[in-house]
Symmetry: C2
Subunit: 337 residues, 2 copies
DNA sequence: CTGTTAGCGCTTTCAT
DNA sequence: ATGAAAGCGCTAACAG
């Protein structure tokens, strides 16, 4: 049924070894021999059995993506990342294996599983900052790239934007528009990015001569509903607020919804800025001003680092800081007087 | 470095064979022996090498997803499907491998590649109805599940909703609200679903005693922009139109945008109905009335059929018709008089 | 340049 | 109930 090397060998009259070398482009094969063999291989529709290849070379041509947060998986964030990883993997003749899991066990188990599945490395997304196995993981000599978790080691690195900068860009933008009372709706504290964006909010306020009051900050959980609730709270407690910065587009969409409910015009009465620049930011009304992070590139870069590590023992992984870009749209405008 | 069967064998004092059988739950192993072996395996953090397993059993525990349309990949449609496939795969101890490719070569090549990569079967999404290799593919004795392409064979089937019904449900809903002039913005004709939804539109009109004029139909391409353009055309050519049914939520979002531009109130002046029920349908204003198809379940069911085929030579694949459900929201209302 | 031999880690007859 | 031996399809020394 399936065509193997020895089929090609028999039909071409050469040994399995020679056929293998010919097909793998080794230099120690006669040109004519190679051509004949390639010809036969084509006729027979031969494709190397990757499984057998992998078993013997122990060189995995597979990278994996672990997505820890199931809900996360369903939004565009991860879809774009997968897309980027896929492109990069394809380019290097790697395959992409997907896993979703609620929780990771020990780092050792995780790594064993990966290795035995033939993975050359794994991207892990959705890890909480307080995840106990984090430290073990970096010590593990297994190529790992983390998304939005600041970990570095000889075989581990991470990809992120500068979230402090990103958040302060948002505040700068609003301050430039004359806003002085700026509320902040953050994601849940277990995410590293939340801590960073909070820091960026503080920094942004300060560098614009504004004092961040603690009542200006609401901790949401990245969901739309938490954005809605946050806007309600913030505005009820601080009627002077003229702008809200939400740490995700989805939460910003919730803010928009709540403002409409409260019959507050955006941006005439309240300006709103999100974070991510997912598609939904152009679907809502008004279109969201937001801080863009390019998840497709996250995926590409993560895969790139992983493949480099998997292919070269000595490759030293690089932490990659991707740019965060302010995308001004209709949801932000001059502060009313 | 990695723990193998023979490590466990040596440490436990049994032969590789026995250890293998013990760990695989064969009945011909002494209970105590099994316990001892399991104990050692646990201590050593043993995990079976899937690659080796696969090579010898030729039973692939991997299924693949081919996504043919790159743009498609980036929307929620495919992300939810992946999520569903992943859950189902995990449940059955299968892995999920991802591929994106612009075009497929011959069916034979596709299948060879899959087999040599160790795939037990593949889900293919984004195939055009006129794809030449379709016929070969079903003849191929390789487990295949197609998404939204009506193909059936001994080892092939497809998953879809009844798109004719879905579209007619949309028209029924609008007709019930008193609309008589209903425009239709379709997806591109190369998609099977477009043909079906067109048929459903016609049928829906007729069964409500309405005559579908050809000028009421616009062929878009599933993009938001084409929805916007469609609304513009339809309304310019037929000012009497009071409702528009778009064959995707994204196009419906474009319709909404255009109507706002034209200062037509939704739903007071024009009602809008979409198709899919993606998240964006609740992000737009007003929230979209739409025909829901559950892509997560698409993924689960597709994986299920695939795994059943891959695990059992004799399993006869079932075409699965998932329900389409009208989800009434704010974008549709009574026809104005 | 080409072939012989060995072995990756595992499962599976076939004996015992 | 357990073990010895063979082999899945391939690559990698090592000879010649």
């Amino acid at each position: 049924m399936t065509v193997t090397l020895s089929n090609v060998a028999r039909k071409s009259g050469y040994s399995v070894t020679t056929v293998s070398r010919a097909l793998n482009g080794h230099s120690d094969v006669n040109v004519e021999t190679r051509q004949k063999i390639e010809q036969v291989a084509r006729e027979l529709h031969y494709y190397p059995n990757r499984v057998a290849q992998q078993l013997v070379t122990k060189k995995a041509n597979v990278i994996g993506l672990y997505s820890l947060d199931r809900e996360t998986f369903q939004n565009q964030f991860i879809a774009l990342m997968i897309s980027g990883m896929m492109d990069e993997a394809t380019r290097h003749n790697f395959n992409l294996l997907l896993f979703a899991t609620q929780r990771l066990h020990t780092a050792q188990d995780l790594v064993s599983q990966c290795i035995h599945r033939g993975l050359g490395g794994a991207v892990i997304s959705g890890l909480r900052i307080d995840e106990p196995l984090l430290d073990d993981l970096v010590a593990m000599d297994f190529p790992t790239v983390l998304i939005d978790v600041p970990i570095e080691g000889p075989r581990a690195t991470y990809v992120s934007v500068d979230n402090v900068l990103g958040a302060s860009q948002a505040i700068d933008h609003l301050a430039d528009l004359g806003h002085r009372s700026i509320g902040f709706i953050n994601g849940h504290g277990a995410a590293w990015v939340s801590q960073q964006r909070y820091e960026g909010y503080q920094k942004g306020m300060q560098q614009n001569g504004l004092t961040p009051k603690s009542s200006y900050v609401f901790e949401g959980d990245f969901s739309k509903e938490s954005g809605r609730r946050g806007a309600e709270r913030l505005l009820r407690a601080n009627p002077e607020i003229t702008a809200i910065f939400a740490a995700s587009d989805l939460m910003a969409a919730g803010v928009l919804e709540q403002l409409q409910l409260m019959e507050l015009d955006v941006p005439a009465q309240v300006s709103v800025v999100g974070f991510d620049d997912q598609d939904l930011s152009t679907h809502v009304t008004p279109a969201l001003t937001t801080i863009r992070q390019d998840m497709y590139t996250f995926g590409r870069v993560a895969a790139q680092e992983l493949i480099a590590m998997a292919s070269d023992e000595d490759y030293v992984p690089q932490h990659v800081n991707l740019p965060s870009v302010l995308v001004p749209r209709a949801s932000s405008g001059p502060a009313h007087v």
